[in-house]
Symmetry: C3
Subunit: 154 residues, 3 copies
Amino acid sequence: MIERDALRDFYDDYYNILDDVRLDEWPALFTEACIYRVIPRENFEAGYTLSTMYAESRGMLVDRVMGLTRTQMYAPRYYRRFPGPLRIVSAGAEDVRTRHNLLMVQTLIDKQTEIVLSAVCHDVVVVDEGRLRLRERIVVFDSEMIPNSLIYPA
Amino acid sequence: MIERDALRDFYDDYYNILDDVRLDEWPALFTEACIYRVIPRENFEAGYTLSTMYAESRGMLVDRVMGLTRTQMYAPRYYRRFPGPLRIVSAGAEDVRTRHNLLMVQTLIDKQTEIVLSAVCHDVVVVDEGRLRLRERIVVFDSEMIPNSLIYPA
Amino acid sequence: MIERDALRDFYDDYYNILDDVRLDEWPALFTEACIYRVIPRENFEAGYTLSTMYAESRGMLVDRVMGLTRTQMYAPRYYRRFPGPLRIVSAGAEDVRTRHNLLMVQTLIDKQTEIVLSAVCHDVVVVDEGRLRLRERIVVFDSEMIPNSLIYPA
């Protein structure tokens, strides 16, 4: 059984790594075969799979990170992530389904901080090689528009 | 005694139900006789009771929900609620007073997510028919203006 | 050892005191000799110490509060603070290093609530005179601009 304390520590790591922009450490938080999807709520609820971001292996996440770090960004900015309370939806012997809200804010130099993502995350966390990893993460965001400014992962 | 874990699960349910717009399930989270009040901080601190929303029974909450679901909304929108840490103010044998901040954001189609409510919730949670329910919930929001866009409950 | 539950209660108090604008109670949450610093992320990461707010004793915090409460503010406003999950970075016998994100919102009368601070807090909490106190608190905010509107402490 995966304990709640271990989950809390896992998500602390997950969001610290992203907030600190240590993107090269991000793919290792997923299993080798995995689902990572960022999808508008409208599509998700209608059963469509058209997603803003999609990956089905750690290798695809690595590719994404390499693309990001090689690309010149249009303007320097900081992201910060505020996860809501973690809900354990169901727990098996070796995996646990969780759900939590996610507010992500963005600060551009000399600009006021603004909300760039309001979403709910449907995750599956498993034990893999002696540590916790995401086998599935679906980030469902409250908008129909593609957030162009969402350059980095959620 | 009501345990902290049970409270956490109760609030997880409460906010999930509202975020998912399962409004018909919302009144059952309150006792039959109850107080539900959404009130500006200015009024609350001055001791006035003039509220933006007010109900003193589960039946009044049911009426409110029926009014909401029958009314055509002006524009489709999503709400999402981000509760702050839960503070237990005092605990009796069968009831507990809690306090927590609440940030509520709204996303209209093709619009940027915005904050629609910054508030503190003063709640009384009790055991009723073998489950936790709110006997009192006072949502004190940081504004003098009536948030017209706050159509759904907090 | 400082327990996680004691830390949680300490931070509940800390943020309640600030949200309620009980500023005269704020300096007592720090040790007599202490570091309190609010600093832009750019400066912090570059190793500069130029800060928006700086104090190195409880007395300096008291001075700051007296300055605030004597000054007429330009416009009445409410602040509310939303701390993210608390991470324990390291724990000694009598002190603990913690880290958490902080979202601070501001509401002016008849205005929409806006984000005034997106930050990460690097704290050192110690046992002092039988209670928990901050020996160090560094609030690193995601902006290069000095938030003029940040009049009250974070």
